[in-house]
Amino acid sequence: MKRVYPVEERCINCHLCEVACIVSHSRTKTALGAYQVEKLSFNWVRPHALDPAVALAEGTPLPLNRCRVDVQGSVFISTSCRHCQEPDCVKACKNGSLYLDEVGRVLLREDHCVGCWMCLMACRYGAIERNPYVKNVPGQESNGINHHCDLCRDRSHPACVSICPTQALVYEERGSS
């Protein structure tokens, strides 16, 4: 199965993969639409805004990118879900909202997830984020739902790979992981 692999020495810290991810998962599928119409802000600068509780209380949108450029000094790397062959998150998911599909992608049944965060605890790569805007438990305080890379289900090629200007992300078959 093809997966997205980062190439650390090619990453230039531009974060265009994050932009492409947000845009490709937006309703309007355009950068301006995602930012201005859907208010999917790309503002990563304010550290407090990364806390969903604070963001919700403030009304500031959370960046909903499913890949994330990690920065350590001058080393950059874009990380996202590894789509493991035997995913710990799927094993940990107690109501079956995470599943392996027929080609091997780890996907989410978005209307099932209740935000218990067992997946988040189980993931050894820290690749799972929280999407606080979807709440599946009516009348309950909810943490939102699981949010991770779906390899762009409606595209032939993941958006992050297509946009990367230095080919620091590759989409290829590499045997088992």
């Binding site: 350590q72 000094g73 001058s74």
Partner: protein, 541 residues
């Protein structure tokens, strides 16, 4: 040149080392502008030189605050104000490298001249006024990169090519063989079948275009790697410049010309033997008569290892080679290198095009050089005083024509090949240079443009936003070696086809038949004396 400064760097704004490991990879929240409180100027002298050259026009309604531009700008020109959620620009730091324009996902950035310059003046150009004010402020030599950018006339643009019509057939290179193969080095005096006589080492170029000397240090590791890969792929050569050959690149020994310059950086027997040819650098077209200066800040561990100098020390090449004060001295060094390489490689000598080039080239050939490189005043540099870059040296076209003519008259043209360098912009320039007497050409600026260079002339600052002339670890990945190699190969392939077409339309099927074939050239708008100097005829005659 102890006290050096540049037109564009602003002493008020610190170097934007985005390498402090902040969470988002952005500069810390205290942006460089925060101490200015949004005011244009705080220091008493600032109003003398703070006229911005470029204006970064941002259509804020189309800006999605993705901050790609902020992260990509190494010149501290773009910053984000989190309180207002707006991206702003410090216009006076903009060097018009266009990195942000190229990377912006919504194309909301446009860069323009800030204004029309100072009051129109035919004598006092805006760049002169700027330079004077900047110089008065700092008391230093104005440094710059790249080649002479003043509007001197270009002889290449006043030479046109011949084509075959009726009386002689043109050749279709897609249907008939077309030979671009070129051998560089000394050729035998005569040839008799059966007894080849003395054979001299030559290097084979599949295309008469070589990559000019650019040192590791002046250019990035990745770019040099790309040049090496492209040279290997296309059957041509790249040149190390004076910065030595990195151990990783020794495997490209069949595609590299190693340079021995006045600083002797990285020169040892293994270096000389890891090559296809060796080159002695006497001068550089962009700065004839002066040495080189790689600032200590740019000397990192890898460069230190390659150049064999301590980390962080300035790499200063002396102006002359201190063991060469005459043609006889040059002969000693040429033969020292030939001895060291056991006469297995041609030795090249590179000079800048100056007033007496023809006589100098004659002396160099008699001193034993197998290849002579003539570098014209449009040639680029990683760092040179602007005043020298813009006013010293002569166009390569005339120097080349004169040198070729002189060597022919003296009957020693076969003893050395000539490489023309400095301002070769396209394949027509290559064809014209070869018809004027060159065996091959060197390209560097064209190669840099091919991999992204936008001619912003900031090479000397080591902050290249396109990752070409920098070795800062966060900027280096912007030009991956394989991407560079692919683009350079594309450039050379395109030129290869174009040169073949141009040869075909002139009725030639081999680059050999073009060399020094000045009948294929005609001058347009040149004086009698210029035509005579170039050795070509007036168009129409």
């Amino acid at each position: 040149m102890g006290n050096t400064t540049t037109l564009s760097d602003n002493p008020r704004v610190s170097n934007p080392a985005n390498t402090n490991g902040s969470k988002s990879g952005l500069p810390p929240a205290t942006s460089p502008k925060s101490d200015l409180m949004g005011l244009q100027s705080l220091r008493p002298d600032d109003h003398f030189h703070s006229y911005p050259e470029y204006f970064v026009e941002r259509r804020h309604e189309e800006c999605i605050r993705c901050l790609v531009c902020v992260r990509q700008c190494p010149y501290d020109c773009t910053y984000y104000d989190p309180d207002r959620d707006v991206v702003y620009n410090v216009h006076q730091n903009c060097v018009n490298c266009k990195r942000c324009v190229a990377m912006c996902p919504t194309h909301c950035i446009r860069i323009e001249r800030f204004d029309s310059g100072f009051r129109d003046n035919g004598h006092w150009g805006t760049h002169l006024v700027r330079g004077l004010r900047k110089q008065a402020d700092t008391g230093g030599v104005l440094l710059t990169g790249l080649g002479n950018d003043l509007p001197y006339p270009s002889y290449f643009d006043r030479i046109v090519l011949d084509a075959s019509q009726v009386t002689n057939p043109s050749i279709d290179p897609l249907r008939e063989p077309m030979e671009l193969r070129t051998y560089l080095g000394r050729k035998p005096e005569s040839y008799r079948p059966g007894s080849p006589g003395e054979v001299f080492p030559n290097i084979l170029c599949e295309i008469p275009v070589l990559f000019a000397p650019m040192s590791f240090g002046a250019i990035s590791y990745n770019f040099q790697h790309g040049l090496a890969l492209a040279a290997q792929e296309m059957g041509t050569y790249f040149n190390t410049g004076e910065g030595g050959l990195h151990p990783d690149f020794r495997k490209f020994r069949d595609s590299v010309i190693v340079q021995v310059a006045s600083g002797r950086f990285g020169v040892d027997p293994d270096y000389l033997l890891s090559s296809a040819a060796c080159e002695i650098k006497i001068g550089q077209g962009a700065k004839p008569g002066i040495g080189g200066h790689l600032p200590g800040e740019k000397v990192n561990a890898e460069i230190s290892r390659t150049r064999m100098i301590p980390v962080g020390t300035d790499a200063l090449s002396p102006a002359p080679q201190h063991d060469i004060y005459s043609i006889e001295d040059l002969r000693l060094l040429i033969y020292a290198i030939k001895e060291a390489t056991e006469y297995t490689r041609p030795v090249s000598v590179k000079i800048a095009a100056v007033h007496n080039t023809a006589a100098i080239v004659s002396g160099i050939v008699r001193a034993g050089a197998d290849i002579v490189v003539i570098d014209g005043f449009r040639g680029g540099t990683g760092a040179a005083p602007m005043i020298i870059r813009d006013h010293v040296g002569i166009p390569v076209e005339v120097a080349l024509a004169q040198a070729d003519q002189r060597l022919r008259e003296e009957g020693i043209r076969h003893q050395a090949s000539i490489i023309a360098a400095g301002g070769i912009r396209n394949s027509a320039d290559v064809v014209k240079a070869i018809a004027l007497g060159a065996d091959a050409v060197y390209i560097a600026t064209s190669a840099m443009i091919a991999v992204g260079c936008t001619l912003c002339q900031q090479c000397h600052r080591g902050l290249c936003a396109w990752g070409i002339t920098t070795n800062r670890p966060d900027l280096l990945p912007r030009l991956p070696a394989d991407q560079a190699a692919g683009r350079l190969t594309g450039l050379l392939r395109g030129w290869q086809h174009e040169i073949q077409e141009m040869l075909g339309l002139m009725g030639l099927n081999s680059i050999e038949s073009l060399r020094g074939n000045r009948l294929k050239l005609r001058g347009v708008g040149l004086t009698q004396l210029e035509l005579q100097t170039l050795g070509i005829r007036q168009a129409g005659l």
